[in-house]
């Protein structure tokens, strides 16, 4: 497929190929949550997966982290991380990479942190186990990590329990924990959705800066176009379990190559363009158990023609390193440049 044929200068750190995730059911009619998703994340790259609820963005991330909920399975495809096949790994092998090489930051830090353990100790657990540090050295590293997340008085904060901290501080602790072993890849699932705007702003900057300092790549799942355009350099837009468009953030923002991306931008309030009228997308996303043939966005698309509802719609390169799953991308968006 064209995705694989793309010229690349560096080996990807994370490679997801033809990933299909679903809920198998014995009676047939199983739901497919993610369908034939392929993308690659290079070392140090900040990559965003954007989509609305039900688009499959979180499931894709969970499959990479090996955290798919019970009953949800990878039906097809491969996920390679640093050359290793993540899906065929034994639980033991997976534990060896989760933490030191791949780390995850969740949306709600209160449920991800252990409420009965001081945060410093929780941060130190990873370095002790994976880097072989002594208790004292790991504790020192934990305090240093807390300092690097910009929390004042880190030594005192290290002795706090999660409930003693505010939402913003807790999320900083999660970031400190995720980055404590200098992982090559950090996975984030809506890490700032639960935070206030002024705190979200602080946390996004911190996350980007720390990942750069540590040379970590980031895979960032969010529903917020503005958040992804501030944090990531490259993104995929997902809809109904598929990638509709992939490209560099700046190019996708300036010249989207898929009608869904365009519609999503037009429906979202843009702070820099307050005069623009918000245009909602009519209709509803398709059913996951019985998706329509052809392009899943066709029933809601203002440009749709008859051929949109038939055949498969692969992601093809329409411009340099800019891919679209729309057959008509050239006709619709070709003249915009």
């Amino acid at each position: 497929m064209s995705v694989v044929a793309l010229s690349r200068t560096v080996e990807p750190l994370l490679s997801v190929q033809h990933l299909t995730i679903g809920i198998p059911s014995s009676g047939g009619g199983h739901a497919t949550l993610v369908r034939d998703v392929s993308f690659e994340v290079g070392p140090g790259v900040r990559y965003g997966l954007v989509g609305e609820s039900g688009s499959g963005k979180s499931m894709t991330l969970k499959a990479i982290a090996g955290l798919l909920p019970r009953g949800v399975e990878v039906l097809e495809g491969e996920i390679h991380f640093d050359g290793d096949d993540v899906l065929t790994m034994s639980p033991h092998e997976r534990r060896r990479i989760m933490g030191p090489r791949m780390a995850m930051i969740f949306q709600e830090p209160m449920t991800a942190l252990n409420p009965t353990t001081r945060v410093g100790k929780q941060i130190a657990e990873g370095p002790r186990r994976h880097l072989g540090l002594s208790k004292a050295d790991a504790q020192e590293l934990a305090v240093d990590m807390i300092r690097r997340t910009g929390i004042p008085d880190p030594a005192r904060r290290a002795r706090a329990y999660p409930h003693e901290l505010s939402g913003g501080l807790r999320q900083r602790i999660m970031i400190a924990m995720a980055l404590s072993c200098k992982p090559a890849l950090v996975l984030c699932d809506e890490p700032t959705t639960a935070l206030d705007v002024t705190v979200q702003d602080q946390v996004l900057r911190l996350l980007a800066q720390l990942c750069d300092d540590m040379g970590s790549a980031l895979t960032f799942v969010t529903h917020d176009l503005a958040v992804v355009s501030q944090t990531c350099s490259r993104l995929s837009v997902m809809y109904a379990g598929r990638i509709m468009e992939e490209g560099n953030v700046r190019e996708v923002y300036e010249a989207p190559q898929h009608p869904y991306t365009e519609a999503l931008f037009q429906s979202a309030p843009d702070f820099d363009d307050p005069g623009r009228r918000l245009a909602p997308i009519p209709g509803l996303p398709p059913s996951l158990t019985d998706p329509p043939p052809g392009c899943p966005f066709a029933p809601r698309c203002q440009y749709a023609i008859e051929s949109c509802s038939t055949g498969s719609k692969p992601l093809v390169e329409v411009r340099h390193r800019h891919l679209s799953a729309c057959d008509l991308a050239d006709q619709i968006f070709g003249g915009t440049r």
């Binding site: 923002y253 309030p269 918000l278």
Partner: protein
């Protein structure tokens, strides 16, 4: 807007405070002297971060809790939480999560007709007709009447919640984060609905939100709350073009933008709001304010008028150069 066409106040909040906790122990001051006026037929947005007291104010206005002190006036007449059913009907509320505010075991028809019967909005024989009217008001088909809340999408469910609020024919709608739980592509349809309800029914709407980008498109005026007080009130255009309060400036600078920008620059605002149990002395924003002066640490500034329809609670209103936003442009 000239003083001659000063719109009538439909809802007035005067010096309202709300404290939680009793006795000598620490009390939480959720609202600490709020003055706010909702004009007839306008959409007023109330914006603030968590803990700013915006939802507490909504509850007081809707009558689901009572204030510790201060007054709420509806058309010049004081109303309390123990209000007469006619007063209760005038002010209705729409919540953030429509799924948890609708009974999952009642069809839309039974939920709405219950409201119509209990409040005797229309005679029994006209209930069916009234239900269709409500459905068309919120842009739903009559076939939706026989479905259960779980059968709808988030946006449709919010329309049903709005229809229920409208069933008693209120003239004031308090909407507490009504689009925060919805996908972006659907948000705009609900914002449009509020706009059309205002123009068709002449409703006055208090629209509570934490996202400035959302209210920018909808509100006529915006009130910014911080830690239980109003920091700034202005016409929407004025507020975005020339925010006077340092907190408003920081809030505007913090909104994530579509246009990719540099993350190297420092955030617009450091720290988080302090606890409403231990409020700082002086201006409550001083611990996070870049311009704080000795005066700010001692005395609390009142909400003062700086221009027609523009009030700010800052000792240095009108003197600040909006440095945070200017600075960020230079960096970029």
């Amino acid at each position: 807007m000239s003083a001659a066409e000063q719109p009538a106040a439909v809802l007035e909040v005067r010096e309202v405070t709300k404290r939680y906790g009793h006795g000598r122990r620490d009390t939480l001051r959720a609202l600490d002297g709020v003055d706010l006026t909702l004009h007839r037929g306008e959409i007023l947005a109330l914006v603030g971060e968590s803990g700013s007291g915006k939802s507490t104010l909504a509850k007081i206005l809707a009558g689901s809790t009572s204030q510790t002190s201060g007054q709420v006036l509806c058309d010049g007449v004081e109303i309390t939480a123990r209000r007469h059913s006619t007063a209760r009907r005038r002010i209705q509320m729409v919540f953030q999560d429509p799924y948890s505010s609708l009974n999952p075991r009642m069809t839309v028809r039974s939920a709405l007709s219950e409201v119509l019967r209990v409040h005797r909005v229309v005679p029994r024989e006209q209930i069916a007709e009234e239900l269709s009217r409500l459905m068309s008001l919120v842009g739903l088909d009559d076939s939706a009447l026989d479905a259960y809340p779980s059968q709808f999408s988030g946006g449709q469910r919010q329309r049903i919640a709005i229809a229920r609020a409208l069933a008693v024919r209120p003239d004031i709608l308090i909407a507490d984060e009504p689009v925060s739980a919805l996908d972006v592509s659907v948000q705009a349809t609900i914002l449009d609905l509020f706009e059309s309800l205002r123009s068709e029914l002449g409703l006055s709407v208090l629209f509570i939100a934490h996202n400035l980008a959302v209210v920018q498109h909808l509100a006529d005026r915006i009130a910014v709350m911080y830690l239980g007080r109003i920091a700034e009130v202005a016409q929407t255009d004025t507020l975005f073009a020339s925010p006077e309060h340092p907190y408003t400036q920081a809030l505007i600078a913090s909104v994530p933008r579509m246009r990719p920008r540099d993350l190297e620059q420092p955030p617009a605002l450091d720290g988080e709001p302090p606890s409403p149990i231990h409020l700082p002395t002086g201006c409550r924003f001083n611990p996070r304010c870049a311009y704080a002066q000795p005066t700010c640490l001692i005395d609390e500034p009142a909400l003062e008028r700086v221009a027609e329809g523009h009030s700010v609670a800052c000792w240095f209103a009108g003197q600040l150069q909006q440095a945070p936003t200017k600075q960020s442009e230079e960096f970029a």
